[in-house]
Symmetry: C2
Amino acid sequence: MTEDSAEEIVTAALLIIGNEILSGRTQDANLAYIAKGLGAIGVRLREVRVIPDVAATIIATVNEVRAKFDYVFTTGGIGPTHDDITSETIAQAFGVPWVLHPEAKRLLLTHYKESELNAARLRMAHVPAGATLIDNPVSLAPGFQIGNVFVMAGVPRIMQAMFDGILPRLKRGAPMLSRTVRCTLPEGIIAEGLGKLQDRYAELDIGSYPYFRRGAFGTALVLRGTDELRLGAATAELVELIRSLGGEPLEGEAPEA
Amino acid sequence: MTEDSAEEIVTAALLIIGNEILSGRTQDANLAYIAKGLGAIGVRLREVRVIPDVAATIIATVNEVRAKFDYVFTTGGIGPTHDDITSETIAQAFGVPWVLHPEAKRLLLTHYKESELNAARLRMAHVPAGATLIDNPVSLAPGFQIGNVFVMAGVPRIMQAMFDGILPRLKRGAPMLSRTVRCTLPEGIIAEGLGKLQDRYAELDIGSYPYFRRGAFGTALVLRGTDELRLGAATAELVELIRSLGGEPLEGEAPEA
């Protein structure tokens, strides 16, 4: 293999911004969607932080993670009310003014009459200077990208539409492939052989997850990696391991309860 | 009011440890449970991080957040398999040996025969030296507390039992009270008056959350704070604000769709 064929590792972090998640009032529904979407194009989601609507916290966190990861995604805090401070605090994090974006205003005017576009709604047409817009096909008020930071709405239906729209802008890594093998053996019985399997396939990520579904306990073993052949070989060895311990291997995820 | 009556603010962070959350395979179900439980005893959940099963990341993160917050809770990574590294990495974070806890071994022996307590399962009886155990009434393998860090299982049913058990160990702050008022006015119409209300009640946290349920758009306005009288006064003003804008205020959360 030449140097050129070495796959670049592309990394990302997600910031979930909002007091309502930290209070437990709202169950986050964006992490898993973003994680799966990034995984499919080979971008590794390395860290997620849930932080409050506090300017100093948002600024410090954005500046920390945008230096550490290739991409940063944020959800929440870009609406018209006083608690929607993500957009202006990200301008502060980048040290740029927070300015009216003419195209964003034009988009809002396709939805609101001029007389309805009050000061609060006009806040949604402001972005950090130099930002490019992210389309919002659901309710028009756009998200934006500045540098390697992508700022999206918190409402899942809007976030999903925004995220799907920006996927083509991202660098791709080798897609993460995964195989799942289930069995009814307890983790404590598989653990020793599984650890040795992980040692032999150090480039794969092998996880073991107990589950309880439809009245039965079981263990789901998940193998993840970018090399299909190695993944297939490790899966075959795992199937053999389970059989050698008296278990019955079942490939694929269990149906939902 | 005397100095003594000033309520102490008690803060917490949560670390959700596990590749399966970052890959999107598993939807976290622990954050909201812990957030609500802490809120009820007046402990403020200030930050949540989701991090991978990587020793260096766990060590650095635990050491950062245990210095910053009164309490740190962790979920995930304390089972018997090779990917369960939370317990031993927290020993490293504290710079103490990872040792067999006789009481933890005794607990496991009430579930497993001596011959079944293999090396993998015996890992679940090891804790950082100096740690105290956290009961696991579901499957016996305990969690533990060391310093201000509480280490719990990731499986929600087990995590919940562990968390309920440690609540009496925690310092309490003034309980966070909340009121919710809904209306069908759009956020952009309420925003100006709501911002002024927040300014007048700076000690409260007022959030605005658009929702779409049973085919209808609406806005949920959530007021949170520790002073019941001030919360009641702000809620009354909010109800008046909504009426003055032509809306119909409804108190309480909407029924689930």
